[in-house]
Amino acid sequence: MNSKNASAAARDIFAKAGPVVALIIMCVILSVANKNFLTSANLLNVSRQMTINGFLSLGMMVCILTAGIDLSVGFTMTLSSVVMAICAVKLGWNPYLSLFIGVVTGMFLGLVNGLLLTKCKLPHPFISTMATQNIYKGIALVATGATPIASIPPAIKWAGANFVSSDPSTFLGKVPVCFVMMIVAYLAFSIFLNYTILGRHIYAVGGNMSAARLSGVNVDYVRTMVYVISGFTAAIGGIILTGRTNAAYPLSGMLMENDAIAAVIIGGTSFFGGKGNTLGTFSGVVLITVLRNGLNLLNVTSDLQTIVIGAVILIAVFIDVVRSGGFAKVKRLAKEFAKEIE
C-alpha cells in the first residue's frame, strides 16, 4: 500500500515536472549545438517571442479545462487589435481609451463564443469557435480593407515594443515589458484558478459537468466566462502583437490557435477537462518558443520545424495517456477480453 502511494506521488511529481524537465534538457542540447543560444541577445528574443502565444495559451487552457476549446483565439486577437488600431489611428482617439476598447472588444468576442455555446446550445465549442474564427477574420479584413494599420501611438506600442527600463545598459533595460506582463498574468491565473470560486468551478465543470450542476454550480455561467477570459487574454496578446509589429494587420491571427493548443497540451492539460495547471502551460509555451528559436538558430527549415513540433505534441499526449493509466487500462481490458474468448 505504502509503495503504491509512493509511486503515485512520484508519478504526480513527474506529471507536473515533465514538461519542465524536457525544457531543461532541450536548453542544454541547444546551448551545446549553437554558441549563440545562451546569449543575452537571444534570450531576450526568446522572452519576447513567447509572450503572444503565452497569452493566447492562457485563455485556451481555461477553455480546455472545461473540456471546451477556443479555435477563435487567433482572430479574436487580430480583431481586437484592429479595433484598437482603428480607434487610435484612424479615429485619433486617446490611446489609453483605445487600449481599453481593444480589451473590451476581446472580451465581447469571447462572450459571443460563450453565449453561442450555452444559450444557443451549439453542440460543441469546436463548431461555434470555428465559425466565429472565420467571422472575426472576415470582419478584420473588411474593417481594415485588408491593409495593415501602421503608425501606432507609443502608449499602445509600449507593452509590445519597450523594455522595463529605458536605459539599455541596465538589466531591466534588457527585460521586455511584455515578458513581465506574461509572468504576472501566469501568477495571477494560478491564484485565480486555485483560490477563487470561479476558478474552482472551472475545474469542477471540466471534471464532471453533471456532478458540478447537481452540486449547485452555475455551469452555463462558468462555461460562458471561460470564453470571456479567453477573449480577454487574446486581446492582451493583440496589444503585444500590435506593439511588436507596429501595426495591426488582418491576417495576424492565422493558425495562432495551433500553437496555443499545442502549448496547453504539451503542458499536460487534459483534453477531457478538469486537469491541468498554469505551470504546465507556461512550460509548454516556453518549450515551443525555445524549440522554434533553437531550430531557427540551427537554420532548420520551417517545414521540418513543423514536423518536430507535431512529434513533441504526440509524445507529450502519449505520456499523458500512460500517466493517467489509460494505456494500462486498455491493455488490461484487451487481455480480459482475450481470456473470455478462450
Binding site: 513527474f14 541577445a41 528574443n45 491593409t147 511588436r244 509589429t245 491576417l251 493558425l255 522554434r292
Partner: protein
Amino acid sequence: MKLSRIFSLCLAASLLTGAPAAAADAGKDITVIVMALNSDYWHMVEAGAKLAGQDLGYNVNVIGPNAETDAIGQANMVEDAAANKVAAIVLAPNDPVALIPAVGNAKAAGVPVVVIDMALTTQDESLYESFIGTDNYEAGGMAAGYLIKKLPSGCEVAIIRGIVGSSNHDGRCNGASDAFKAAGVKVVSIQPADSERGKAVTVAENVLQTNPGIKAIYCTNDEMALGAYQAVANIQKQKDILVMGFDGSFGALDSIEAGELTASLAQMPIDMGYSGVKAAVDFLAGKKLEKRIKSATVIVDKANLAKFKADIKEKLSKAN
C-alpha cells in the same frame, strides 16, 4: 521515468538532425529569409542566393516560414538571425509594415539588412541598406500591353489578383488596369484569390459566369493563372480566352509549352536572390549601395520559352 528518457531522446534526436546545418564560420554567414519556402519562386530565389554564396565565398542559409501570411514567424526569424550574429540578412518581407520593427532590431544589433522582392512601407530608409525588386506597377503595365496587342479593341477583360493590401499585388493589378483603361479595354472584374490556385478556380468560374464575354484573364501570379486556366478549360473556352500569369514559375512555363497559358510576365527570381546576396556582400566590403535597385522582368510566351528555360536550367545546375 523511462518515458521521460524517451521523450528527451526524441527531442535530442530531432534537434541534432538539424545540427549539421549550423553555422561554422562566423562573419561569413548570410541568412536569406524569404516569404515562405513553399513555391518554385522562392526555391529559385534560394538557388540564386546560394549561387552567389558560392561565387563570393559566403555561407548562405535560406529559411522562411511555412506560409506567406506568417509575418510574426518571419519577424522572429529576423531577430533570431541577428542573435545568431550573421554578417548580413537578406529579407523578402511578407508584410510591408509588420516586419519593420524586426528589421529595426536587426539594425540595432549591428546586422545590415538588404530587402528584396517586397518593399517596406517606411519613410526611414536608413533601416535597410538597399531594396531590390520588380517595379510591379510598371510590370503590370507591361503585361497589359502584351495582352492589348493580342486583343480586339474595346473588349472586356478580368483581373484576378493576390491578397488586397500586398503592395506587390496592388502594383501589378493597378499597373495593368490603368494600362487596359488607357487602351480602351474594359476591365469588368477585379477579384482577389489570395495567390492560391484552388481559390482562383472558384473565382474565375464566378467571373466567367457573370461576364461570359471576357476575352482575357490576367492574374497577378502564376498559381492563380493556372487555376483560372482550369476554369476556362472546364467550359471549353480555352480558344477564346487568353490567360496570362505573373512570375514565370515552372508550372506556368510547362503550361505555356503545352499551349495552355498564353504568357507569363516573368520575374527573374534567381537573379533577385543572387543580387540580394551580392548587394549584402558589397555592403560588407564597404561599397556604397543604391537604395533602390530595379530587377529585370521579361514576358515569356511560346516564342521565347525555350531560351528562357535553358537559361534557368543552366543557373540552377550551377547552384546545386
